[in-house]
């Protein structure tokens, strides 16, 4: 353990337990961890016991430290994580969360604060990283376990898995996140904030009649808040999209009411924002609330572009400064890991947006985003979507969707395959079987929906051209039997009713047109066409230009 690392740990501890907490400072030191860790190369960080003396045995800090150590360990691609490692990480999370959950009134935290000089403070970004990593490691653990059981990587690994059946189980993971939410009272705090329309920390909400809600400690609140985000992701991964939406509702509500991210906890980390909106948009898409999905995707792309703009400006300013100081051109700094990860997610968001917009056209997308969607990077994906081929669209979806997981592990089948070393081919969380991975179910349901929507979209395109059209004529256009067209019209109505039922808004918004049948005649009512208005404006504009031109020529 070098002196550099020792200093790092001490400085981090100092920042976390500072008497006058300074978020920027904490953030600064926290981000140094990437740098500092490089000295360890392919070794894990020193254990908590080894640094304990440096931080006066600060238990909470040591738990946080161990979490960081494990994160770094798992992120290091050169390390091969074993089940033993995962068990260790689980035990650390367990200890950290249990400490908070059992400390409902915040007494233990206050004790510790007295002993170590100040309350524990971490940044929003740090809290998000903890929770996000927690869910991510759960994902990995499930996959690891499943593949160990299926193909029996090796006997001892399999044995470790079987010995630790109670780590990384889905009910415990759920439990932890839910209890963190409960003990931190984050839901109540956010509700109060929305009622009084103040800041979300209870202080600004002194609107008199609304009672202030106090949370046990800042650490509680931060972890509870991001536990909501974690639960949102977890529910998505398990396929319960409705719950995913409802669990993140307090956070989304807050982000809608507080303007432009000022004081918004979520915006302390760009990847937190992008990730949350990505999952929310995905959930809307799977629930078939297409309009909400489009709105969500558009809003997060907007946020991300603005963020990148401001980052670029900052970098440019920094570069100029450095150039002036050094008197020669300076390389632009490399993107940090978070921005890269956010960028990758944003690509997925854009792909999803393309898909949804194709399935449910007619909603307005702002210019700058439309520009991005048709630009260089998205050209391939655009081609996939516009091909109108179900398989291509589904492939794009699978690539852009998260890796859904199968949480339950069937230990019995595995036990019988032990020693045989062959693959159990019933598609349990791994390869083999008709559906492949668990995500196969999501894919199948989605593919069916895409098929239906594409069929209906073709019909819609024809119907929009007419105010009345007979079945015979439609049949001539589409090359389908009149009876099939009739069936499709009923099917489409069914879909429209579904969209109505789920959005609670009139069909006028769900799809921009309306029709009904009288016998064999289809009567169509198209909604307001944006294009028409733009056309009239365009003509007006051109006429005026021409007039001005004629006038100047005459002079």
């Amino acid at each position: 353990m070098s002196a550099k690392f020792k200093t790092f740990v001490t400085r981090l501890h100092g920042a976390v337990r500072a008497e006058r907490p300074n978020e920027e400072r904490i953030q600064e030191v926290y981000q140094e961890s990437e740098e500092v860790a490089k000295e360890f190369n392919n070794d894990p960080w020193p254990k908590a016991e080894e640094v304990s003396a440096l931080v006066q045995e600060d238990r909470v800090f040591l738990l946080l430290y161990t979490e960081m150590a494990f994160q770094a360990f798992f992120k290091n691609k050169n390390m091969k994580a074993t089940m033993e490692d995962r068990v260790g990480s689980w035990q650390n999370y367990s200890a950290l969360f249990t400490a908070l959950i059992q400390d409902e009134a915040g007494d233990a935290m206050t004790e510790a604060a007295r002993a170590h000089g100040a309350e524990v403070m971490i940044t929003g970004k740090w809290a998000f990283d903890i929770i996000y990593e927690f869910v991510y490691q759960f994902q990995e653990a499930c996959q690891y376990r499943a593949s160990a059981l299926q193909s029996a990587i090796n006997e001892s690994e399999l044995q470790t898995v079987l010995d630790h059946k109670d780590v990384w189980t889905v009910d415990k993971v759920f439990n932890f996140l839910h209890q963190l939410v409960k003990v931190s009272k984050v839901r109540e705090v956010l509700e109060v904030a929305s009622l009084s329309k103040g800041s979300a920390e209870g202080e600004g909400g002194g609107a008199g009649a609304v009672p202030l809600v106090t949370y046990p400690s800042k650490l509680h609140y931060l972890l509870g808040y991001f536990a909501l985000v974690g639960l949102n992701r977890l529910e998505c991964l398990l396929g319960d999209f409705q719950n995913a939406l409802s669990v993140a509702e307090p956070v989304m509500e807050e982000s809608r009411s507080v303007h432009a991210g000022a004081g918004l906890l979520l915006s302390s980390s760009i990847i937190a924002q992008v990730s949350l909106h990505y999952h929310i948009g995905l959930s809307y898409l799977m629930i078939r609330k297409y309009h909400e999905a489009i709105k969500t995707f558009v809003s997060v792309l907007d946020v991300y572009f603005k963020y990148m703009e401001s980052v670029k400006q900052q970098q440019r300013a920094q570069q100029q400064q450095q150039q002036q100081q050094q008197g020669q051109p300076v390389q632009p700094p490399p993107k940090n890991a978070d921005d890269l990860a956010a960028g990758k997610l944003v690509d997925k968001v854009a792909a999803m947006l393309l898909i949804v917009h194709h399935l449910c056209p007619g909603q307005h997308i702002p210019e700058n985003i439309r520009g991005h969607l048709t630009g260089e990077k998205m050209k391939d994906k655009l081609r996939h979507v516009q091909s109108g081929d179900v398989d291509e669209i589904v492939t794009l979806f699978v690539v852009s969707a998260p890796k859904f997981i199968s949480p339950a592990t069937d230990y019995d089948a595995a036990a019988s395959s032990m020693g045989v070393g062959g693959q159990v081919g019933t598609g349990r969380g791994g390869s083999g079987g008709r559906t492949g991975t668990y995500g196969g179910l999501q894919r199948i349901v989605f593919a069916e929906e895409v098929r239906q929507m594409l069929e209906l979209r073709k019909l819609r395109d024809y119907l929009r051209l007419y105010s009345t059209i007979g079945l015979e004529k439609l049949s001539a256009f589409t090359g389908q039997e009149p009876e099939n067209i009739r069936r499709e019209l009923v099917q489409y109505k069914h879909k429209l009713l579904q969209l109505e039922a789920s959005t609670g808004s009139s069909a006028q918004q769900s799809l921009d047109f309306h029709y009904y049948l009288d016998g064999d005649m289809v009567h169509v009512d198209a909604g307001e066409h944006e294009n028409r208005q733009e056309v009239s404006k365009h003509f007006q504009h051109e006429i005026r230009k021409l007039e001005n031109l004629a006038r100047t020529l005459r002079k």
């Binding site: 409960k182 809608r256 799977m286 199968s406 349901v445 039922a501 609670g504 309306h514 009288d518």
Partner: protein
Amino acid sequence: MQPRKEAFALPYATPSKTAPLSGPESNSSMANANPGISTGLPRPSSYNSVHSNVLGDGLYTQEKVKHLEEYLQLQVKEGSYDFEANKSLLKLYLLYPPLANNENVETILLKALLNLPATDFTLLLYILPEKLQTDENVLTIKDAAEALETARYADFWSILNSRAAVFLAIPEWKDDIRKIILTVHAATYKAVDKAHVSDGVGLSGDELDSFLTANTPGLVAKVEVDRVIFAPNKENQPWVRKYKEKVDLQNMLGILNRLAA
């Protein structure tokens, strides 16, 4: 036994029973999207106690399975429906495969179809336990649901007839689905040949007539010898179009002047 409410008014033909939207943006409030309280079947009698005692804390523990299974049977007996509870039960089966009960899953799926056009059934499909994804009965229900969604009613009725046993879990299921199909027809058609309605609801002759009369007034306005005229509702009437011209008079006058000169 709770009286069965008239559950098949078209959305917005009568005032919707969903909670009103809060504010101009409709993305907030998931209460709207809870199909259990929408224009479908009524709530079960023990709804409140189940939601506060069993589902209240949001955790997924094995002990809840028994309670939710009993609650499901209550729904079958009463003809009531609670989507959230059933979904939670299905999720518990997903998380603890040994506890999964096939018949209950089939019942849950069938119940969800009764809440069409809400998307309950699709939402359940996403969390179907793996064992059941290849179960024959579940696949039959899936096929029937697909036929229903794509308006392939002839296929739908033939599935029901050939594998009737699967759908007997809920006694009045067939009749309720029939009403839903009629609802979709009422939304699509102002008036149509009787033959099409007959294909749709799987009835003919006197049975068809009495079924249609039972839904008059409400969905059906008039039953003729070979045509059915549906009651006017939001979906099967022309919309009133509001013309909003974006060209104001001054500009137009200027342009007209030019043209006339």
